[in-house]
Amino acid sequence: MIGFRASALHTKLRREIWQMRGQVLAIALVIGGGVAVCLMSLVNYSSLQATRAQYYQDHQFADGFVSLKRAPRHVLQRVAQIPGVTRHSGRVEGTAKLEVAGFTDPVSARLVSLPDAGQPEVNRLFLRQGRLPDPARSDEIVVIGSFAEAHGLMPGDGLVAIINGRRQPLRIVGIAESPEFVYVIPPGGMLPDYQRYGVLWLAQEALAAAMDMRGAFNSLVLRVDPAFAVAGVVDALDRELDRYGGTGAFGREDQFSHRFLNDELNQLKTMATVFPLIFMSVAMFLLNVVISRLISTQRDIIAVLKAFGYSNRQIGWHYSQLVMLIALIGLLIGVASGIWLGNGLGELYMEYYRFPALLFRVNVWWVAVLALITFAVALLAGWRAIRQAAMLPPAEAMQPEGPARFRISRIERLLSGVRLSQPSRMIVRQLSRRPGRTLMSVLGIAMATAIVLVGNFQFDSVSLMVHTQFARIQQQDLAVTLTDPASDAVLFGLVRQPGIRYGEGRRTVAVRLVNGHRQWRTALTGIPLDARLQHVVDADLNNVSLPPDGVLLTDFLARELAITTGDLLRVDVLEGDRRTLVIPVAGITSEYLGVGAYMTRQALNRVLGEGPVINQALLNVDAAQAGTIYRELRETPGVMAINIRQAMLDSFYETLARTFLTFTFFNSLLGGIIAFGVIYNTVRISLAEKGRELASLRVLGYSHPEVAHILLGELAILLLLGIPAGWAIGNGLALLIVTAMQTELYRVPLTITAQTLAFSATVVFVSALASGAIAWWRLRGLDLVAVLKTRE
């Protein structure tokens, strides 16, 4: 008997789900959206985390790094004895200017030596193609994959390097990646530029010969036993290598490529929490409305079931099953698409970061926890309505619900001067009768708008950021980095070259800024007093004049160091005589990209105890003569690298457009799903509640468009309220995201263009049109005869 009951109710459940399939699907999609974003971000985060960990482990990525002037190789034996050091690799590093066939822009490269044994002990290469250089041959090189790809280079191809002023033809024998160079930024640059900057590996002997470093090393990387603190090893290294011109050892957390990857992974975590929260709350509201409505139309059915002897618990369970079934459909959609998207995005990231292989990680526990949350949210949403159904006394349930109670709303009194038609009155009263539901619908639409806006504002913001940095703050065409600091007379030499119109120098020096226990490795930049090509700006992008003494810090850096104007800052210079300075903080500035500390060049030269010395030149050039200038500069001894502002911008926008297009599409899709879920359900519920009234009006002579006006007018008001609210919420969310996404590399400014506002409104509006079209079509099918004979 029990079995029969259960199966009859199951049949009812199945048929009702099928009857409400449109609404069920709309809700399930919203739930699915939340689950998918959450799972996708988790899968992505942990897959990338695991992939990176495996990559680091397999290729013995260093825990400690040191650059130095020159140390004899026997010093390495002492390094090996430092407690905690398990592996080490002393190598020669250098820079080169390259000539790549068919490419006229200046190209520079970082050179790293490989031991005779082939793979180094630390920072082993992942060889994609070809082989490692023959230790006996000085012209064989391995190039980094990103550079090879940017130029279409293959093993067997040749290129020319100018190392230490000498031209040297080289032949590519292999293409490789390294955990040390997952993210590569050229010196003096701020963004990756794979066409104009690369990494080359040469045999130890070859590079040492070219760099005059035979029997010596100038770079040390090492692995530390996990039982030992890296900081202790770093201190010991500093003590050991100071006398060889060490610029200060540092741990992995300060290594540029690693730090950038960390930032990126943390952003994924933000995405895994914020977005699902929005989706789940919208889904909860939708379920609440739909289930309440369903149960109120099934009062008589509930009464009959109870009259036949079904218990309150059975009735409650029956409707709980309905809710959970919808949640289950959403969960399945979400898990499937979350894993699929996570995998797809993982592949994309893998290609971007050039990891050897993606370790795909899906934890069954996450799915279990997500399922639990989804069901809990669904049951919570339906709780009140289900309880009401379970508690309904059968006799009362047999009675139809009385006519809905309405009153003249406050809004209407406010509008008393306006003559409302009766249909418009119906709309206003319908909306104000259930202010809670109206508010939630408006909020749902607002959230949809906000999600699309958040997905797109970043494009505006990043564009503004880059524009500010490269058009407003930096106005040079070329930045020339010198191999070693030189007298500013070099500048006059450069400016005299044909095609160069104007130039100014600057001095940068590697420093460690220290305030108490907080410290930060960065560059201290000395800018000439009368600089025209380089500016320091404040939060409103106004030029800040440089103080005669003292240092200016960017706000991000000041916060990290917990220091403010007037405080004294300890500056450990990591070059030259490695002196320690104490300089007052003269002011705080604002910059979107990078982390900077600024002084006047004159003051910097003075505190470093050097004459008028520069190591970078900023130039304005005649574009028509660019080719000649690049060639000249390439041949100029002492010039290490050349950055072209426009090239940097172009390559940046290209990457940006590619990445953001995917992202924008994805966010618009999610926003569209929420908008459709909310609007479709609102319209369907409204249609169900008002179907009888609307049919009556049709009988009384109202035309189809006149009746549709009542239904769609309500929708229009919800949109009118929801979209601007969404803009406001989106603005708030954007601010949150901008704050959460502040990294060393960049602080995205908050800017939202009219275009973005319009786009977010359009996505929501299109979803509304789709729902409206369905409602229009359903209204056509209203049964006018049935309405005359039925009591609600």
Binding site: G402, P403, A404, R405, F406, R407, S421, Q422, P423, R425, M426, R429, Q430, R433, R692, E693, S696, L697, R698, V699, L700, G701, Y702, S703, H704, E706, L784, V785, V787, L788, K789, T790, R791, E792
Partner: protein, 237 residues
């Protein structure tokens, strides 16, 4: 009332519903003339076809075969747009379950119709006519069933329709309240001269009509003319 203009004329009116695999013959060749200004009661048991006939006369349903004309307009060949216009300008409906708009007051319910009509009376006038001049600003939920039905009658007559079609107007009401509603219909018919058709299964109502038509099994099974219309207030059931 032969001699008066014919408002409705049906010839061979037939309606067949396909319900799944079963064919239901709701009307089997009805020939009927209704005259201007008369009050007709159509009597019949449930399933006799009276509602179907009313729906076709009201432009809510279309016949399977035969012809139905409203004055010179052939309803049997009209499309949705023409039928909507026909209902809007010529027909007043009174439903068994009142079908008032719960979000509008009595006055506004009437105004919902007068706003789209060509030469309506004022909503207040219509409500006065049914004796609800003092309840105009009440919402349906604040009115009794009889009062709601009288609002529905006011709504139906306010546009000064040429025909008033009432589908079991007292079906959901007790006798005392039903009488008040019938009195309102009687008054409206006398004062506005609207052709009024009341369908009911309640034979006691027949006495208030000019003419009584009985339907059974989709056909007209009887027709009689009352010598005198009885005042609805004297009716009871």
């Amino acid at each position: 009332m032969p001699g008066q203009a014919v408002v409705f004329q049906t010839r061979g009116l037939t309606k067949v519903y396909e319900q799944g695999e079963v064919q239901v013959h709701a009307l089997r060749g009805i020939d009927l003339d209704l005259y201007a200004g008369e009050l007709v009661v159509m009597l019949g048991a449930s399933g006799s076809g009276k509602s179907t006939l009313l729906n076709i006369l009201g432009g809510l349903d279309v016949a399977t075969a035969g012809k139905v004309c409203y004055r010179d307009m052939e309803l049997s060949s009209a499309g949705d747009r023409e039928l909507t216009r026909y209902r809007r300008h010529h027909v007043g409906f009174v439903f068994q379950f009142y079908n008032l708009i719960p979000s509008l007051t009595a006055r506004e319910n009437v105004a919902a119709v007068t706003e789209i009509a060509e030469a309506p009376m004022a909503p207040e006038e219509a409500l006065d006519l049914v004796g609800l001049g003092n309840r105009m600003d009440h919402f349906p939920a604040q009115l009794s069933g009889g009062e709601q039905q009288r609002v529905a009658i006011a709504r139906a007559i306010a546009k000064c329709p040429e025909v008033l079609l009432c589908d079991e107007p007292t079906g959901a009401l007790d006798s005392a309240t039903g009488v008040l509603v019938l009195a309102a219909l009687d008054k409206a018919n006398r004062e506005t001269g609207t052709t009024t058709v009341i369908i009911t299964h309640n034979a006691s109502i027949a006495a208030m009509a000019d003419r009584v038509i009985t339907l059974s099994d989709g056909m007209i099974s009887g027709e009689r003319r009352n010598a005198e219309r009885q005042d609805p207030r004297t009716l009871s059931w």
